[in-house]
Structures are given as structure tokens and as C-alpha cells.
């Protein structure tokens, strides 16, 4: 039933449609990529499903030229930033047409064109790197900011504390975003610290810090917009703990025995994709039929990307040494 509720929603039709499309693309991309695991896709495969409202809200609240850096759970964020399903899927397949030429794989998406500074595999490493990226923006005198993403598990690495201190000391334009999906592999936040309210971490450095509901793009968008304004005004970093949930295991090999089915089901009830879809339908911005057409179009994009990935070549064997150094003629030890 399409009712005219338009006025009660805080953002425009275009905004909701764009969030929905972004989240749907992320969701279907990973669902379909999952079916290729063990076939074209191997190695570690960390799924973002459940967390899509975080990436959607961040990307709508910042500029596409603001550098962004994250961990290995990077597919959703890459797509939200506008990297194509083709280049992402091809990367998962290890193909030369992938966003990292097939050299990075699932954990190491990169795109200079999209100011996407990577997918990093060492937990917490991207926290100081993010501050460094922000340092460079400030040094160059731009008004860009860096979006620096990490997990609740990563928030316990010592590097975070060193980085928060320096970022505040030097007022670096960086939004530190902890995607608190409640678990680091099998370890719940409660089991990692005496301080389970992650937003409090920033307070020791007097960094503006806030806890945000990550199960809808609106609240993420609002919090990130405020943070961005603060950063761009030269006032230094902001720390956002965005509360979210991953529906799947840590990676494909994780059976997830550390949490209950009921807990997962409760979060699925709050599914951001469904929630936004319902809002769009209720506001009569799209009919169910139009939603279906949109779904079909996204699904086709994904199917095409799998075809593209399958048809693409692996990197040439001569690529083995390429990109190790800046020099093309670097004298590698051949034996």
C-alpha cells in the first residue's frame, strides 16, 4: 500500500534511492560472489553483509575525493565508493582486469581513481596509515579529510592509541570510524576490554567521540556529516563508533558457534536494506514493481560481473615481479 508519508522522512527521494541502490549492490554482489567461492574465488573471503548502511551513509556524507582506507572486509565499501562490480569481481577471481590487477584479492582492493587506499590485512595497520593520509592532505593544504575505518577488534591494537594522540596533537583531518560489528572473529567486544563502550576510547585524548546506530544510513549520514564539517573546519579528528552487525561468519571458514541464532535473527529483523526499501515503498517513491525492476537490474550487473571475471585473463606470469619496485628494470635475484 503506497501511502503519502514523504514529508516525515528527513532526506530526499534521490537520497533514499541512492542508499537503497548502493546497499542492494553490495548485498547482491557478496551473495553472488559467495556462490563462486571455491570455484573462481579462493583464499580469505570476509563478507560485509549486514553492515551496508555504514558504507552507504559514509559515502553520502563525504566527497568521493576524500581518501578512504579500511581493513580486509572491503567489498562493500569499494562498491559504495563507486568502484565497479566488474573490477571488484575480477579482483576476487584474481584476474588481470581486477581493481588490483588480480594481485590483491578479496582483502586488498585498491583504486587510486576512487581515492580508495586499500583493503589491509594486518589488523589495525590502517589506523596510523589513515592519519598519515590525513597528514598529507593537511600538508598539501586541501580541505579533504580521510575516512579511516577499522573493526572493534582492531580498536585494541596499540597503534590506535598512539595515532589518536598524534592526530589530536596535530589536528589532522581524519574521521576514525570503528565499525563495531560486536565481534572480532569469535571474540565479543565484552571479552576484549574493561571498557566496552568503544566511543569512550577517544575521550582520553579529548577527541570528539560519538556512538552511532549503524543499522540505518540516515544516522550514519548525519554523524559523518557533522564529523566532516568539524574536520574540514580544521578542528582535528573525530571518532565515531558505528554499531552494526555482520550476519555471516568472520570469513567463509567460520561456523559462528560463539553467538546464538536468536542474536543473528534479531539483527536481521533490523536489516537496513529492508528498512530502506520499506520506507521507499511507503513513501510511494517506487512501486513494488519498480523495486523489482531495480533489483533485476542490479542482479544483472552482478551476473555480468561474474561473466566478466570468468572471461578475463589471469595476470601474465611475467607480472610476478612487476610492481615490486618503481623501477621496471630492478635487478631481482633470479636464484
Amino acid at each position: 500500500m503506497a501511502k503519502k508519508k514523504t514529508t516525515t522522512l528527513p532526506y530526499s527521494r534521490e537520497q533514499y534511492l541512492s542508499w537503497y541502490e548502493s546497499m542492494l549492490l553490495q548485498r547482491r554482489f557478496e551473495e553472488q560472489a559467495g556462490t563462486q567461492f571455491g570455484k573462481g574465488i579462493r583464499g580469505f573471503f570476509h563478507v560485509y553483509i549486514g553492515q551496508e548502511a555504514v558504507s552507504a551513509g559514509i559515502c553520502s556524507a563525504t566527497r568521493l575525493t576524500d581518501p578512504i582506507i579500511t581493513a580486509y572486509r572491503d567489498h562493500g565499501l569499494a562498491l559504495a565508493r563507486g568502484m565497479s562490480a566488474n573490477e571488484c569481481m575480477a579482483e576476487l577471481f584474481g584476474k588481470a582486469t581486477g581493481c588490483s590487477k588480480g594481485k590483491g584479492g578479496s582483502m586488498h582492493f585498491f583504486s587510486k581513481e576512487h581515492y580508495f587506499f586499500g583493503g589491509h590485512g594486518i589488523v589495525g595497520a590502517q589506523i596510523p596509515m589513515g592519519a598519515g593520509i590525513a597528514f598529507a592532505e593537511k600538508y598539501k593544504g586541501t580541505d579533504n579529510l580521510c575516512i579511516c575505518m577499522f573493526g572493534d577488534g582492531a580498536a585494541r591494537q596499540g597503534a590506535l592509541y598512539e595515532t589518536f594522540n598524534m592526530a589530536m596533537l596535530w589536528k589532522l583531518p581524519v574521521i576514525f570510524i570503528c565499525e563495531n560489528n560486536q565481534y572480532a572473529m569469535g571474540t565479543s567486544v565484552e571479552r576484549t576490554s574493561n571498557v566496552t563502550d568503544l566511543a569512550k576510547i577517544g575521550l582520553a585524548f579529548e577527541m570528539p567521540s560519538e556512538s552511532v546506530d549503524g543499522m540505518n544510513p540516515e544516522s550514519v549520514h548525519e554523524a559523518v556529516s557533522r564529523a566532516a564539517e568539524h574536520c574540514r573546519a580544521g578542528k582535528g579528528p573525530v571518532f565515531l563508533e558505528i554499531e552494526t552487525y555482520r550476519y555471516r561468519g568472520h570469513s567463509v571458514s567460520d561456523p559462528g558457534l560463539y553467538r546464538t541464532k536468536e542474536e543473528v535473527a534479531a539483527y536481521r529483523q533490523k536489516d537496513p536494506l529492508n528498512a530502506i526499501k520499506n520506507k521507499i515503498v511507503e513513501a510511494a517513491w517506487l512501486t513494488e514493481a519498480e523495486i523489482e525492476t531495480l533489483d533485476d537490474r542490479i542482479m544483472q550487473t552482478i551476473k555480468d560481473s561474474i561473466h566478466f571475471a570468468e572471461e578475463s585473463p589471469f595476470p601474465d606470469d611475467t607480472e610476478l615481479y612487476h610492481d615490486t619496485y618503481a623501477e621496471a628494470d630492478y635487478p631481482f635475484l633470479m636464484e
Binding site: R42, G102, K103, G124, M185, D317, E319, T324, L333
Partner: protein, 327 residues
């Protein structure tokens, strides 16, 4: 004898030593409630409780240092790194603390600690998850380095490592955890610093360690079909290195090929080659050749992983080269 997997052998070693010595405890990420990221410590929390099987936050530098302090103060920690790739965060504590407290304190304080976990390439895991650090760590005086992937060797050596008075780096293999091997029911120890001749041969010595032993044995099998008998030596311990066994072997074969999955520059193979030319020059009929991981980062694409790693074909080619055989 009975067949058990590498992960079971490692668990038996830790469990037996923890029953024997209350000072021994296990600490690391996901070792307790999750039963280990690779299930090596499965069931240990249930047996020993959370006082002795301890989950940590993701804080390698911190918990490595806590291990070092505890070792200096009378305990015997086993610190698990989920993989050795992540240990790099903890190298300050390993190299600046663990390796040096004995000498800095004039022998007053020791550091009997075992750092353990899987090392090396484990399929398509990309550049940051595919590294080996034997040569890096063995470069440092004050620590011992063990790298082994067979259940029998791993169990006997891990037990010795836990009883040793020094900091020990113990490297295993993710892809071998589920592979079975013969392990006796009764207790045994394997001395640190002793290589093992995995195959007798007279024509060429193949020196290697960890999961490359299998690759070398496979090459040796093919070579035997062509009438070439390769002796395959599994180093098992990298530091201290069992040079005597290597020299004994080349006195017989007069030729050596070293196989190592890591990078060539300043590698374990580099060290062996120096010692052989210095101590056994007169016995050698050909220069030592090494078959190494490629001098580059490990990429994700499957063909680039294969191109990176040593394989039987490359080993056979190297053997024929030291034997001055055509092709």
C-alpha cells in the same frame, strides 16, 4: 605408532607439558573459547581452565611483552601467533627484550618462552598473509628458531622447546595442520638443533625444512626414477643449525641444492651456502644452488602463487645443474 594430524601432535605436546609443569600456560588470539583459529588448542580451555589457556585482544605487541615479562619472572609461556605474519608487530619484544635480557642482565634473568604459529604460503592469501620469517628471526642471537611441519618432529620439538631455557620461535604450517603422520603413543623428545635425514641418497644433498620437505621428497622420487639418488635433509631447527649433518652429507654426495620457500636475499640458504663453501669446499664438485621463493611479494592470483613457490620441476633442474647433466 599411530597416525595423528600435525594439529593434534602440537596439541599433545602442549597438553603433556602443561600437565607436567604448572608454570606452562598458553596465551594468544582465539586460543581458548574458539579452540584456536586453526583448532590447534582445541579442548585445552576445557582441560586447563581460563587461568592457563588465555584469550587475548588483538594486541600482538602487548601480549608478546606480557609473555616476556612472565617468562622473566618464573613462568613458561607459550604465546600463539595466529600466523607469523602478525608477529611482526611483536618483534620489538622478541628481538629487543626476549633475545637480550639474558645477556643484558649478565645472566641473571632468562626468558624461557615459546612463540609459535603457522608460517609460509597457504594458498591464495595475498602478500601480507604469505610470509616466512625463519631467516629474519634466526639472524638474532639469543633466540632459537624451529620450523617443522611433520607431526612427529613437531611434537618432539615443541616439547623440547617448552622445556628449553631460551626464547624459541616455533614455525608450523597452516596447510599441513590437517595432514597425518606417525607419532608414537609413548612420550619422546627431539633435541633442538638436530637435522633429520628424511631420505638417504648418494648423488646430491637436498636441504630444506617445513613444508618444502615434501616438495623435495617428491623431486627426489622423480630423480630416483632417472637413477639419481638424492639425500633429503630436513633441518627442523634453523638456529642453531646442524652443520655437521649437512657436511657429513656433502662429503658423500659432493653436491648440494637448498630449497626454501622464502625470499633469496639473506636467506637460510644464503647462510648454508656460506658455511658449506667455508667448511666443505674441498668436498664439493659443484657450487651450491638454491631453489627459492621468488624475489617479490606473493600475489593473490593462483598462477602467480605457483610461479612464486619452489616446485619439483625447479628442484630437478637445479639438481641436474649441480650434476652437470644436460636438461
Amino acid at each position: 605408532m599411530r597416525l595423528i594430524t600435525l594439529r593434534d601432535a602440537l596439541r599433545e605436546a602442549m597438553t603433556e607439558e602443561m600437565r607436567r609443569d604448572p608454570r606452562v600456560f598458553l596465551m594468544g588470539e582465539e586460543v581458548a573459547e574458539y579452540n584456536g583459529a586453526y583448532k590447534v588448542s582445541k579442548g585445552m580451555l576445557a582441560e586447563f581452565g581460563s587461568q592457563r589457556v588465555i584469550d587475548t585482544p588483538i594486541t600482538e605487541l602487548g601480549f608478546a611483552g606480557i609473555g616476556v615479562g612472565a617468562a622473566m619472572n618464573g613462568l613458561r609461556p607459550i604465546i600463539e601467533f595466529m600466523t607469523w605474519n602478525f608477529s611482526i608487530l611483536a618483534w620489538d619484544q622478541i628481538i629487543n627484550s626476549a633475545a637480550k635480557v639474558r645477556s643484558m642482565s649478565g645472566g641473571q634473568f632468562g626468558c624461557p618462552i615459546v612463540f609459535r604459529g603457522p608460517s609460509g604460503v597457504a594458498g591464495q592469501l595475498g602478500a601480507q598473509h604469505s610470509q616466512s620469517f625463519e631467516s629474519w628471526l634466526a639472524n638474532t642471537p639469543g633466540i632459537k628458531v624451529i620450523s617443522t611441519a611433520t607431526p612427529y618432529d613437531a611434537k618432539g620439538l615443541l616439547k623440547s622447546a617448552i622445556r628449553d631455557e631460551n626464547p624459541i620461535m616455533f614455525m608450523e604450517s597452516e596447510v599441513e595442520y590437517g595432514v597425518e603422520g606417525d607419532v608414537p603413543e609413548e612420550e619422546y623428545l627431539i633435541p633442538i638443533g638436530k637435522a633429520d635425514v628424511k631420505r638417504q641418497g648418494t648423488d646430491v644433498t637436498l636441504v630444506t625444512f617445513n613444508k618444502m620437505v615434501k616438495v623435495a621428497l617428491s623431486a627426489a622420487k622423480t630423480l630416483a626414477e632417472e637413477g639419481i639418488e638424492a639425500e633429503v635433509i630436513d633441518l627442523r631447527t634453523i638456529r642453531p643449525m646442524d652443520y655437521d649433518t649437512l657436511i657429513e652429507s656433502v662429503k658423500k654426495t659432493n653436491r648440494m641444492v637448498v630449497v626454501e620457500e622464502s625470499w633469496p636475499f639473506a636467506s637460510v640458504a644464503t647462510e648454508i651456502t656460506y658455511q658449506i663453501q667455508r667448511r666443505a669446499f674441498d668436498y664439493m664438485d659443484a657450487p651450491v644452488i638454491r631453489v627459492m621463493g621468488a624475489d617479490t611479494s606473493v600475489s593473490y592470483a593462483p598462477n602467480l602463487v605457483s610461479a612464486f613457490l619452489p616446485n619439483p620441476t625447479r628442484i630437478i633442474k637445479a639438481v641436474k645443474e649441480v650434476m652437470y647433466l644436460k636438461k
